[in-house]
């Protein structure tokens, strides 16, 4: 579904600031390797969040002394997460209804 990647990223970042690689790892880990967001969709999606003002990016030190860009959820991003989550629940509910009806 379009927009799902953004929703997942927002949810992951809600736990705290993270860099791109960390986000990908976290997603993979939490979803038991079911959800693997490729780099070619992860980074464009992060740029979309930046442009929309839902996350902020700042440089910080990573675990092995190389600087990394950390993404942090903004207040607007938190609001967006709630809204998108609701929408997503509705959608899933609706899909489930259709599936169970048959």
């Amino acid at each position: 579904m379009p927009g799902t990647v953004e929703l997942l990223l927002l949810r992951v970042l809600a736990a705290g600031p993270m860099h791109g690689y960390g986000i990908a790892q976290r997603l993979k880990q939490v979803s038991d390797s079911v959800l693997q967001v490729g780099e070619s969709s992860l980074y464009p999606a992060l740029q979309r969040l930046l442009i929309n003002g839902w996350v902020k990016a700042e440089w910080g030190a990573s675990e092995n002394n190389r600087r990394a860009r950390y993404y942090r959820l903004t207040a607007a991003g938190r609001k967006q997460l709630t809204a998108e989550r609701q929408e997503f629940e509705q959608m899933i509910g609706a899909i489930r209804k259709v599936l169970e009806m048959a």
Binding site: Y21, Y43, P44, L46, I51, G53, S62
Partner: protein, 879 residues
């Protein structure tokens, strides 16, 4: 909303920092690879596998950049660069197109900047959109009548300005001032630079010895004296105390006005209160009121005012009075003239657009292969159309830039169309509104002439175009489209040139018309003593007699006379009169007669012929029985079929009648076109010595000295001025002017309008010639093969000439036909500007047809020569 703004702002921020962002993204991805590689090595994956899992990193970068929104902007910049490169490659095309458009945009910018100043830019007063004018003119009594009754407006009174003598400050001089009601400055919403404005009650007799100076007068006559407030100055022999100086930016009701004095509003002086100078009323809408309400109010108030006068007035006098915005009142009838010019210059721009569209079509044909190649390589139709539109808009913007510069330069020519005394006209020039207009116009024209060729190019048949790409394969419809464009262009040109021709004919008729007098070798100079100077009738007559005698004694002078006015100098000395056989009633009130007061030799000097009876002689002195001369049209109006000699006329209010002793030919007193204001019913002359015959009547004091000189009398003007000044140094003497110049000045506005119009028509003609040339050159190159075949099978050169010329003549004939019909219909629109020519003048129409045909043929000459010089053998071999 907030969200959109924030997002746009971030987009701009990202775009500005895109280089750094790109670098940062690269670094981020590199870190990602590093970390992933480390984990994978631990998991014993091969680098090969890692790379496969990573997917397309370049794509990740590309798509990230897409999100930042650079792509469309980058594409636009690339398109613009490409367009500029394309123009450099084809300078002939680019320069013709840019020249055409710049010409059109220049004219539009210039006319628009005048319209902007006159009609769009808010007047420099407080809340200018609340200011209105009550149309028609009213006496002071009705100002108070309206003031007491109006619920919607605060009304003030402001005379257009008249000349006063300023004495005691350097040599005696004439300055122009306006009489106003005390509330004028409050109503118009302007404040003084120093001092104060008039207070309520200061327009009443006894309190009115005050004056407010314009900044310019204060600087020029009083050297910007900082202690000016409270100083007393003498105007027309009366002392007035200076109470204020207006800022330099303030000018009203016209730029000629140099000071403001209180109108003397005195209800006890019935004649002055009801019958003094009738002046314009201006007003400010009260809060909450709108112009419709004000209009309704004035309609009901003005309907009955004719009954209020203490003497009979024409039935329903001023009943059609209404309320208009002050801005449109100031613009007056210049408005129509400007809109006609804007229409004309708009047509020039359309012609320029048609030219460029036609050129672009030709270029699109030549670039079919290029476009097909782009399409084949994957460019979408939208992308190609956008590329072509970018090119035409860039073209138009370059032209716009040049056009604005040209427009501002040519503004001095165009400015003359508008009377210089309209406040604010001095500031005509480039401002943001004009720039915005020019930019919008450029983009709009760029899109409009670019859209058809661009869409045409977008619709091409790929396979066909890539395969052939030959010049010969251009489809017929493209040429047909260009033919119609050029024919339309010629039609519009014909309309403009016909209009210009009609206006030129008008101007010619005006300048060659017999104004009723001979202005050759006549000099005039205004001598303006105070009115009180003529309190003693004899001394006044003696003063002027001496001046005439002294003037006659000058070398180079043939004759000299004095008169209260000079024809065509813009003055209108009219008085109400009683005419024998025409008793006065409410439906036939006193006719207003133009009244000359002249010395007997005036008619000989001006060569105004006597038609019947006798002229004035020196014996018609102050004590002889009063006599009068009337003009031929006045005689016809009042005594048709009856001998007017021996009939009587008197000024309304006089007791003794004046006897008509002769009829003189008509003179165009008011304007060369022989219109006179509707209120004037005729013209009479009285001998100067008899101009005021009643016991308390004065002779007019301000007079023009008219001097007929010999052919070689260059030093006369200077001597004349010296003589008049020496006669009495306390009396201001005006500039010596030739009557020929005065006559010329009377139509200067009309003349400059015509010159501007003519320049537009010439531009149109030039553009049409370029258009025909472009089309015919293209047609010849398209038909090279056909012509070669024809020549190869024996066609003569003559028949080739006929072939090509007939094509261009056909286009010209279509254009001329359509244009003539349109011109015929449209010329009625400005028939009001035409004088002495009917809008269907056959000579003009025939002349324009010949001219346009000539231009078409001339423009086709080069292409025809090229066609004749085609070498069939070489062409056919090349195919």
């Amino acid at each position: 909303m907030f969200y959109v703004v924030g997002r746009t702002w971030r987009k701009i921020l990202f775009w500005v920092r895109r280089d750094r962002l790109n670098q940062e993204l690269a670094e981020e991805l590199e870190l990602h690879c590093y970390l992933k590689g480390k984990v994978d090595r631990e998991a014993r994956k091969t680098p090969e596998e890692t790379r496969r899992e990573m997917g397309n990193l370049t794509l990740a970068k590309e798509e990230s950049r897409d999100v930042w929104g650079f792509v469309s902007l980058d594409n636009l910049l690339r398109d613009i660069r490409y367009a500029l490169r394309a123009f450099r490659r084809n300078p002939a095309f680019a320069s013709i197109a840019i020249f055409s458009l710049a010409l059109g945009i220049a004219g539009n910018t210039a006319i628009f900047s005048i319209i902007d100043t006159l009609l769009i830019k808010p007047l420099p007063f407080r809340e200018p959109d609340r200011l209105v004018r009550i149309t028609q003119l009213y006496p002071k009594a009705l100002l108070e009548y309206f003031q007491q009754r109006s619920q919607t407006m605060d009304i003030a009174f402001v005379s257009p300005g008249s000349e006063f003598n300023l004495t005691g400050v350097g040599p005696a001089s004439r300055i122009t001032g306006s009489e106003i009601s005390a509330n004028f400055f409050t109503v118009i919403g302007a404040s003084v630079e120093r001092g104060r404005t008039f207070e309520s009650g200061e327009d009443r007799p006894g309190n009115d010895g005050l004056i407010i100076l314009s900044h310019e007068l204060w600087r020029a006559k009083f050297n910007g004296d900082p202690a000016i407030i409270g100083r007393t100055i003498t105007l027309n022999g009366i002392d007035r105390r200076v109470i204020g100086v207006m800022p330099a930016s303030f000018s009203f009701p016209s730029t000629t006005v140099q000071f403001w004095i209180p109108a003397r509003i005195d209800p006890r002086n019935t004649v002055e209160y009801w019958g003094g100078e009738f002046v314009p009323l201006i007003a400010r809408l009260r809060p909450g009121a709108n112009i419709q309400q004000a209009r309704a109010e004035i309609h009901s108030l003005a309907a009955g005012v004719w009954k209020l006068f203490p003497w009979p007035m024409p039935r329903r006098w001023n009943a059609d009075s209404t309320v208009i915005s002050l801005q449109s009142d100031l613009a007056g009838d210049t408005r129509t003239r400007l809109f006609i010019l804007l229409g004309a210059v708009g047509v020039v721009l359309i012609i320029a657009c048609a030219n460029v569209a036609s050129l672009l079509l030709a270029r699109a044909t030549a670039r079919r292969k290029e476009m097909a190649m782009r399409a084949a390589l994957g460019a979408g139709i939208a992308r190609i159309v956008r590329q072509l539109l970018t090119e035409s808009v860039v073209l138009a913007l370059v032209a716009g830039l040049i056009g604005v510069v040209l427009g501002v330069i040519s503004l001095s020519l165009f400015r003359a169309v508008v009377p210089a005394q309209i406040p604010g006209m001095a500031e005509v020039g480039l401002d943001w509104r004009v720039c915005l207009f020019a930019a919008a116009l450029s983009i709009f024209t760029g899109l409009s002439f670019g859209i058809v060729p661009a869409l045409k190019a977008g619709k091409l048949d790929l396979a066909e175009a890539v395969k052939s790409g030959s010049q010969r394969s251009a489809t017929k419809t493209w040429i047909a489209l260009r033919t119609w464009l050029i024919a339309g262009e010629i039609a519009l040109t014909v309309v403009l040139v016909v209009a210009a021709g009609l206006l030129m004919k008008s101007l010619y008729d005006l300048t060659t018309a017999n104004p009723g007098f001979n202005s050759q070798r006549i000099l005039t100079v205004k001598i303006s003593p105070n009115e009180s100077f003529c309190a003693q009738r004899e001394s006044c007559i003696a003063f002027y007699s001496r001046i005439i005698a002294d003037t006659r004694a000058l070398g180079g002078v043939v004759d000299a006379a004095i008169a209260n006015t000079v024809p065509l100098d813009g003055q209108l000395p009219a008085i109400p009169a009683d005419v024998e056989d025409h008793p006065r009633t409410a439906d036939f009130p006193s006719p207003m007669l133009w009244t000359g007061a002249v010395t007997p030799n005036y008619f000989r000097l001006m060569q105004i012929p006597l038609i019947s009876g006798r002229a004035f002689t020196d014996t018609d002195g102050p004590n002889a029985s009063p006599v009068i001369l009337i003009s031929a049209s006045t005689a016809r109006r009042f005594w048709r079929g009856v001998n007017p000699i021996g009939k009587h006329i008197k000024k309304t209010g006089e007791t003794s009648w004046r006897t008509v002793i002769g009829v003189v030919a008509d003179v165009r007193q008011f304007d060369l076109a022989n219109h006179s204001p509707g209120s004037i019913s005729g013209a009479i002359y009285m001998p100067y010595a008899q101009a005021g015959i009643e016991a308390n009547a004065q002779l007019p004091a301000v007079m023009d000295l008219l001097v007929k000189t010999t052919a070689t009398a260059e030093e006369v003007p200077a001597e004349l001025h010296r003589l008049a000044v020496n006669a009495n140094p306390n009396i201001p003497v005006g500039k010596v002017m030739s009557l020929t110049d005065i006559v010329g000045n009377s139509i200067s506005g009309f003349r400059s309008t015509i010159w501007v119009f003519l320049s537009f028509a010439s531009a149109a003609l030039l553009l049409a010639a370029i258009g025909v040339y472009g089309l015919m050159s293209y047609a010849v190159s398209q038909r090279t093969y056909e012509i070669s075949v024809r020549m190869a099978i024996g066609a003569s050169r003559k028949s080739v000439v006929v072939l090509i010329l007939s094509q261009s003549l056909r286009i010209a004939m279509i254009g001329i036909g359509a244009g003539t019909a349109a011109a015929f219909l449209l010329s009625r629109l400005f028939s009001g500007m035409l004088v002495g020519v009917t809008s269907a003048d056959p000579l003009i129409f025939a002349g324009v047809t010949v001219l346009v045909l000539f231009v078409t043929v001339t423009a086709s000459t080069v292409p025809v020569c090229r066609a004749v010089r085609i070498d069939p053998i070489r062409t056919l071999r090349a195919e």
